[in-house]
């Protein structure tokens, strides 16, 4: 205890400055939130709260995928397009039997889990390819995933624009599938969406992976100093393959849920989701330099973004203006992150 007191005694104004600076983005966003609430006090309601949470749920799943990659000092621009591919494939395999425009008119009603597993395997495979090229050929993750983003969009569009009906939104989803994402528990009169449960489970799982497993320690070591990890006997290649594949699985789940949540999917589903997810990670304290970050941070980052987006719409800020604000938030967050790092060097 006395040690703790000693520690506090040693905090100078310099340390407080450091605290404020390293959490500056939270203060900025808190300020923004206050403005929203002042303009529209009715913003604080259970309904809004629930909407924000369920909208955040799929984003959290995706952000935890790319977040794991960012921990290794990588990035993944193909997230959004992989989510789109997952959404289209899962929707196409789970259209209601009676729906007129089915992509597969004669397809039997599949068990709900099967299309989701298929989709996870597909996005897992694309992400594994990302990991393979990045780990084996030392291609910069930005370039590799940029290429993959375009490839996956092409693949998705080819799949999407096919007979018998050609390119058109895949709707008329199987009720079970829609309910899987849109349904809710009724707890004491409050409707709690299933999505929140899914996101919570995955958050806990990823938290355990990051903090309790050898794999988790390894990805942080690789991001912190891959050379050190290598000479300590860590199989860097294998761990990178694993982290990208894991992210792919999460995109598969996220994409399926996204299709079911919206009730339809097109080849443009997921457009720019990667930017939202990466931005949320950075705002949540993940360092682009690798090796630093927490799961609660990522979740907080996604929630903050969603609160701001929802809140701005709520008070009637134009969507175009919202883009500008979001962009600024990303830049400020990264600028602060870089500043902190520049100071250390």
């Amino acid at each position: 205890m006395s040690e703790l007191r000693e520690k506090f005694k040693n905090y100078s104004s310099e340390d407080y400055k450091h605290f404020v600076l390293s959490n500056a983005i939270f203060f900025v966003l808190l300020g923004l939130l206050v403005v929203i609430v002042v303009l529209e006090p009715s913003f604080i309601s259970f309904r809004n709260f629930r909407n924000i949470l369920s909208q955040s749920s799929t984003r959290i799943i995706m952000a935890l995928g790319v977040g794991s990659i960012i921990v290794t000092k990588g990035t993944d621009l193909s997230l959004g397009r992989q989510v789109g591919l997952a959404a289209v494939i899962s929707a196409s395999l789970l259209q209601a039997p009676g729906y007129a425009y089915r992509m597969y008119p004669d397809l039997a009603q599949l068990p709900l889990w099967l299309p989701i597993v298929i989709v996870m395997l597909v996005t897992g495979a694309f992400s594994l390819m990302n990991g393979f090229v990045i780990a084996k050929f030392k291609v910069d993750p930005f370039i590799q995933t940029l290429g993959m983003m375009i490839i996956v969009y092409g693949v998705n569009s080819l799949y999407y624009d096919r007979p018998p009906y050609g390119a058109q939104p895949i709707g008329g989803l199987d009720e079970r599938f829609a309910n899987f994402a849109q349904g809710f528990f009724n707890i004491g009169g409050f409707k709690v969406p299933y999505l929140i449960l899914y996101a919570s489970i995955i958050t806990v799982l990823i938290y355990i992976v990051w903090n309790k497993t050898v794999f988790g320690k390894n990805i942080f070591a690789i991001g912190g100093n891959s050379e050190a990890a290598f000479v300590s006997g860590v199989n860097v290649t294998k761990n990178l393959l694993m982290v990208y594949t894991m992210a792919g699985f999460l995109y598969g789940i996220g994409g399926s849920l996204e299709a079911a949540r919206i009730g339809t999917a097109t080849n443009n589903t997921g457009l720019m989701y990667e930017l939202d997810a990466i931005a949320a990670c950075i705002v949540g304290g993940l360092s682009f330099d690798g090796g630093i970050g927490t799961v609660p941070g990522v979740v907080a980052g996604v929630l903050i973004f969603q609160v701001i987006a929802y809140g701005l719409s709520f008070v009637g800020v134009s969507p175009y203006m919202q883009y500008i604000i979001k962009g600024l938030i990303i830049i400020i967050a990264v600028a602060i992150d870089s500043r902190e790092h520049a100071k250390q060097n």
Binding site: T213, N225, F230, V231, G291
Partner: protein
Amino acid sequence: MSNNEYLLEMKGISKSFPGVKALDQVHIKVKKGTVHALMGENGAGKSTLMKCLFGIYKRDEGDIILDGKPITFTSASDALENGVSMVHQELNQVLTTRVMDNIWLGRFPKKGLFVDEEKIYNDTLEIFKSLDIKIDPREDLDTLQVSEKQMVEIAKAVSYDSKILVMDEPTSSLTEKEVNHLFKIIRNLKEKGVGILYISHKMEELDQIADEVTILRDGQYIATRDIDNITVDEIINLMVGRDLTNRFPEKTSVPGETILKVENLTAATQPSINDVSFDLRKGEILGIAGLVGSKRTDVLETIFGARQRKSGKIYLHGEEINNDNPHEANTNGFAMITEERRETGIFSDLGVDFNTVIANIFTYRNKNRLLNQPAMKKDIQWVIDSMSVKTPSLKTKMESLSGGNQQKIIVGRWLLTQPEVLLMDEPTRGIDVGAKYEIYQLMIELTNQGKGVIMVSSEMPELIGITDRIMVMSNGKLAGILDTKTATQEDILRLTNKHL
């Protein structure tokens, strides 16, 4: 276990990199329970040899025999599992994690699916206790002092219980007390029969700790001797391959009036330099000595404006100047040659021509704002001739030149800016002895023209051989300024530990 006299034998090891033969038929034999020192100048191939042993580099030819069995490690984990561990020269640590995470990285004990946190904590404590190290295993590594980080790295290597332990400059950032602590650990390991390969630049350590010594020079095997049958001078002669007296050209210029005066220089971002004051005279070479982490480079960077200044003043010819950024420093007549030649010195994919004139490129603009090609060509040729750079053509890519020739081009580049003060950070690191001599000659040439040179160097003989005065940094503070004529290595070493 075999009854072999040797625990580890490396025979006829060769390794080439594009354009360089880093190792040529090198051999070394380590006996059980002994410390075998591996000596050689920078670039002699010591670290490369160890990386070949450890499986980080794939050797081109040669055999490695461990405990009587031929082996080839394909990765670090392979080497570690087979009883070869290593304290790496650059601190190869994950600073963003805790001390105990670093110790167990690559071999975390598991409890079911998860890492056994309790075990890694207790085991780390136990290792530290047995080695008499007082560091909290749960501390974040980046909050530790450099020397503590080094001790963690040593503890980690020891904790593998290896048959062979390689130590690549383990004392580079340790204080004298910690060095003694390390030697105690090493003697314990010897008693247990561990073979230790010990790489160090500090000659005075050999008598204390080593049993045998093998000397490499320019990637070639030179000799192996018992430590009792060889003197330090002989080792140096074998390392350098020529008589010590010829290693440095004679310095003729006599320092004159003061050019540069630095007062109470303190860098903005700490830890860095604090309250450093000194001056530099015309025609003088001022050396900066200190241990790794003593912030020698920061002195140069702060003067040059590459590092933000918190307080302190810089005077050039008695007038105060700002040097807020490198561009401004440049305009004021400063030039800086950085330590990391590959990273911050050369444009490796571009030609010798580009590399030579890039620093003063604006002086070649004609009245149409285009570059005056003949003038550039003339200057490039001047640099190549006067520095005796060996290059096939002006267009040759910089990366295909040897390190020494690259360095000469960089020196030439900054000479073209006609600096008053030349700041050099480890100007002879990793270049061969001949090229070193030529670099020294260039420095002396400069002083003859009345310029001032400040040189950071880790090589004691170089500091004593070429400078007029030596300022010693210790833990970011100035520990003292010595007159080179009367200074000894011991004086310098003592000062390096002053503020630790």
